[in-house]
């Protein structure tokens, strides 16, 4: 390997590392509050399972669509819903109050009950990694 390539590779790998850190959902302060309340390691994989799960024909995807990076559509009113994926909608998860408001409403509609802290942490981890 040419020695001239080494600085270039270093730069690329540093940029890659930085991008991973930036995408790390554990940096989201709201996830820390779940951890403070006793939630174990959040799992994007479990969050994804919940995202695509269907209960009595209801699921997250009923309104948000299958791809969280796409614009959704309210199943009843047809109103468009901004994408849930953090990568395409970076302003989405700024307010803890707003996050909790929507979890409360939408978990009740989708699962007929409130979500557990673990489920919320998992879903949030999945969505912020998208």
């Amino acid at each position: 390997m040419s020695p001239r390539l080494i600085p270039a590779l270093l730069l690329v790998s540093t940029l890659f590392a930085v991008s991973i850190v930036n995408a790390d959902p554990t940096l989201l302060p709201h996830l820390d509050t779940y951890r403070d309340q006793g939630v174990g390691q959040a799992s994007a994989w479990r969050g994804e399972e919940l995202w695509y799960a269907s209960y009595d024909d209801r699921g997250c995807t009923s309104c948000h669509g299958a791809n969280p990076a796409d614009i959704g559509k309210h199943v009843k009113t047809g109103k468009s819903i901004e994408p849930m994926a953090l990568s395409v909608n970076p302003g989405r998860y700024q307010s803890a109050k707003k996050i909790e408001k929507w979890f409360l409403r939408n978990c009740k509609w989708t699962f007929g009950r409130e979500c557990s802290l673990q489920e919320k942490a998992d879903i949030l981890t999945w969505l912020t990694s998208q």
Partner: protein, 195 residues
Amino acid sequence: MNSKTTMAAGYVLMATILVFSFYGLGQSLASGGYESDNHDLDHEYHEENEHNGRPLAFSIDPVYLDECGSCHMAYPAMLLPAKSWSKIMAGLEDHFGESAELDAQTRQQIEDYLVLESERVSYRKLFRNLGDAAPLRITELPYFVHEHDEIPARLVADNDRVKSLSQCNACHRGAERGQFDEDDVVIPGFGRWDD
């Protein structure tokens, strides 16, 4: 009669015709230019409130717009009586089959706005034959039912771009600003509506 007199008479005649046509135009503009009693909700609602010495401007609360308008059109408060709004805001846990729960402070703030705004600008004709009822749905107002009873299902329920009469703004392009003038109705996939 010489040609000068003929020309002068012609001028007088033309001027008279012009004056009367302008007068007629002015009259027709002043009367709104139409007779129909259901033609312009917005127009009559303004007149009614002028008589009451109330402010005319349509106002929308930003908190209401943000909280309620994220799932559906933020229905102008004037479309329901104040006590309907209070009932709706007291039952957000089951809001037409969905949870629309809010924290206590925001809920109260929105209810206060809706009640005040409804009392301020309520369009009374909308509440004709309503009596003391406080329906939860605008589509249940007798006046609303009467106004929409000639529209065939294929244009609303069976129309994928409308689906329901609850979607005011699918056809009333000024709905979110409280404007329901029939002239402004465009039914998606069908065009202007004129009955």
